[in-house]
Symmetry: C2
Subunit: 476 residues, 2 copies
């Protein structure tokens, strides 16, 4: 549109006073992360019991930044901050908080305040919070809410966790297909109060309330008022209400969707998922994958000390068991080992190289499976390629290690043993790295979680077997 | 809105014939991934040289699915498929293709066809494609395009890769702040052809074309036509044109943005970033992190065989060097090793446990750094907690391994050595796992890429040193 001069008065009137503006600048670093200095200012104000200053500091923050702040504070200071938030501010912050912190915060908020805060939230966010409450408190809070809000939350909770039903908001804008753009806009203006605060598509529905198409709000704005909706609507991708949220995210990402209608088994429109919910899901699911690949389970930054120990110890114990089994394979070779100390010193190298090569193949396979880029149509080709890579990288690394060993020990047979063992182990690593996730995926297990233990075991077991077995053939 | 019966005629008229509908059902599995059977049908049609069938199959697919299909085909079949796409279809598919496949495909498309296809694309997507072309072809293609389109692409390419400038689309909808909703809508209807196909916010600008606020399109639709834009506009988060795309994604995720204005250093509005671009960026950046953690660099599914070998071998070689240094530490203990074969057999276990524990701490730290949840304000607390977890998990695992060893060998001193060595190594693993990413991050390196090599080296080196050193103190 045009660039013309305008009266700026009503905008400047609404700007916060200069002092607050300065606080806002102080709060965030250049990369939009919360500044440590600002956290220190909050702690200082809390220590001095300066309620006014504390409220001033909190007012300078976006709700998402208050949630961030909570993560940087210890439990005592968190309570102090929460006590200074009104229900509206609390509502905005609750849905931003990490789960562990939220559970702790919820324990300290009175039921009455919580009921008021939930009333301010969208139905899906409110349901998430209620789901986190303990049975007693949940009953108290729900009892303190108006009938209609309580029913909305209970309906949302009836859907399983991590499904489209839980992710969706029940508020949608729908129009019958015989309406024109003008009729729809008139209706929107009249019903303005009952509509979702923000929406991107108007769903066009048939008489049974099944979506038959969607009109983007921007299309509606620019179309002539006499245009029938049916003429400008686009086809929609319907999301079944029980679809896993990871699937929903995949569909949004693949087809670049902004919003999509959620339907019941009969096809009736019951809500919508919007892309801003999806951004959160993608982040959540990929973080789960990263942590699972490292065997860390899902205890986050704010888990308690013992919670973290519990989340990690099982993986170390499984690692211990598989390693112990791998060591059994060394047993029969004990007489030879006593003679060839050098060879034994190389065991960790062979096992570590195998583990690394296996993890490389594994990571690529897990990623390809998650992105649905690997299936029966190309599995053979990709497996063959991985095995080839394993052989070639094995030959390269084996040549270097065998060569280095020869310079040191001048024993050609010993170097040959090491060379062959590395090739064999990197081949096995590639085999395990590509096959373990595929097989686990086929049996409906999450390949990111279970594969690395399987692969580490395979490379250790066969690595030892290869080095000592080949040695007993060539050297004894 | 209401549910009334309506005339369905004009909708059914536009549905594809029954046969196509069946093909669409066949194409995708229940989880929206491409069905292997459908890929087989495409290969079959290509083998038989049945052009009509091939076109029929391709018509049944969404462009995103055609791009997926390309990933499942070998190079020969890809050429065959590309030959059957018109410029419009090609335009939609090019921006969906993975980089490696796209580069290969671009080599086989005539410059004239490519110029036409680029004309159909949004400026940011077209710039990405042109960026992939080799110098000769790029000149040919640009020469074949109309002046205005060429300038748009060249302007976009002037911004650095992975910045907001490259991510943004130049097409925005802006309005002066003294306009009313009614004036803006009238303008939108009149200028309909020059507007972006889809938009979510109208940016309100001052006389210098600097954004002062934004009105969501859905707000505009429901507001009374006489409402001044300045009255209903919300504050905007401005994105500097040179901001890294990872930062942009962080801001979108944090503040749940749908679109944001991109501004030049002077504050002038030059474009907008929308959330659908961000979904792609988040996926891209987290995939980079996952792959980097496993030391795989960025060669994807469709990299050539030698490309993959090259992307993985360096990490294995670094692993070999660090392992070799770690083995040097074993040297002085050779006399003892000859006596205590058992101890040596335990070396891989100690090193592997240390490696796993280190990766656990490391993964959590890398994730926390990426999510900006770890900084000077809470670093000491988190480091102390990690070290405590290392000691406690070390004691638990050491007790089990030491105990098991005692049952086998009935040597209390030997068990004590192993117990202490495991504790020491898991402490070092925790130290390395948490400190390495923090230090690398402080020096501006990507912690996801470099940390795991550092940590593996630390745990191997100190693991061997701990086991053999403690053994020489207690056993000799």
């Amino acid at each position: 549109m045009s660039r013309e001069s305008a009266d700026l008065t009503d905008v400047t009137d609404r700007l916060p006073p200069e002092a607050d503006e300065d606080l806002e600048d102080l709060a965030l670093r250049e990369d939009y992360a919360l500044a440590p200095e600002f956290v220190a200012m909050v702690i200082d104000a809390a220590d001095r019991g300066d309620a006014e200053r504390l409220r001033e500091l909190l007012d300078a923050l976006h709700p998402a930044d208050v949630a961030d702040l909570m993560g940087f504070l210890s439990a005592d200071y968190r309570e102090e901050v929460i006590a200074h938030l009104n229900p509206e501010a609390l509502a905005e912050i609750l849905s931003e908080l990490d789960t562990e912190i939220r559970e702790e915060v919820l324990e300290h908020v009175p039921s009455e305040t919580l009921a008021k805060a939930l009333g301010e939230m969208e139905s899906d966010d409110a349901a998430d919070v209620v789901d986190d409450l303990e049975a007693d408190k949940r009953a108290q809070v729900l009892a303190a809410m108006p009938e209609s809000e309580r029913v909305a939350i209970e309906t949302s909770l009836a859907y399983e966790d991590e499904t489209a039903g839980r992710l969706m908001q029940r508020e949608v804008v729908a129009a019958p297909q015989f309406w024109t753009v003008g009729q729809a806009i008139t209706h929107l203006r009249r019903e303005s109060d009952d509509l979702p605060e923000l929406f991107f598509d108007v769903y066009v529905v048939d008489p049974a309330y099944r979506p038959v198409g969607a009109v983007a709000v921007s299309q509606m704005l620019r179309a002539a008022p006499s245009t029938p909706l049916a003429q400008i609507m686009e086809p929609v991708t319907e999301i079944p209400v029980d679809m896993d949220q990871e699937e929903v995210a995949y569909i949004f990402n693949k087809y670049h969707l902004i919003s999509a209608p959620v339907v019941e088994p009969g096809g009736r429109l019951v809500g919508q998922v919007t892309v801003d919910d999806i951004v959160g899901v993608i982040q959540e699911e990929t973080e789960e994958d990263i942590l699972a690949l490292a065997g860390v389970s899902d205890a986050g930054r704010d888990a308690g000390f013992l919670g973290i120990v519990r989340s990690r110890l099982p993986w170390l114990l499984i690692n211990l068991v598989t390693e112990a089994i791998a060591v059994i394979v060394i047993g029969p070779f004990q007489p030879m080992i006593a003679k060839i100390v050098i060879l034994v010193m190389l065991l960790p190298i062979v096992s570590s190289l195998g583990g690394n090569a296996g993890t490389q193949a594994l990571t690529v396979a897990v990623r390809a499976l998650a992105a649905k880029e690997l299936n029966a149509a190309n599995a053979t080709r990709i497996i063959a390629r991985e095995l080839g890579v394993g052989l070639l990288n094995g030959a390269a690394v084996g040549l270097i290690l065998g060569g280095g060993l020869y310079v040191w020990q001048h024993d050609l047979k010993l170097s040959l043993v090491v060379f062959l063992a590395i090739i064999a182990n990197l081949f096995v690593a590639a085999l395990g790295g590509i096959l373990a996730p595929i097989v686990l995926d086929r049996f409906g297990r999450d390949p990111a979680v279970s594969s690395s233990v399987v692969v580490t075991f395979m490379t250790d077991f066969f690595g030892f077997l290869a080095l000592l077995g080949i040695a007993s053939l060539i050297l004894l």
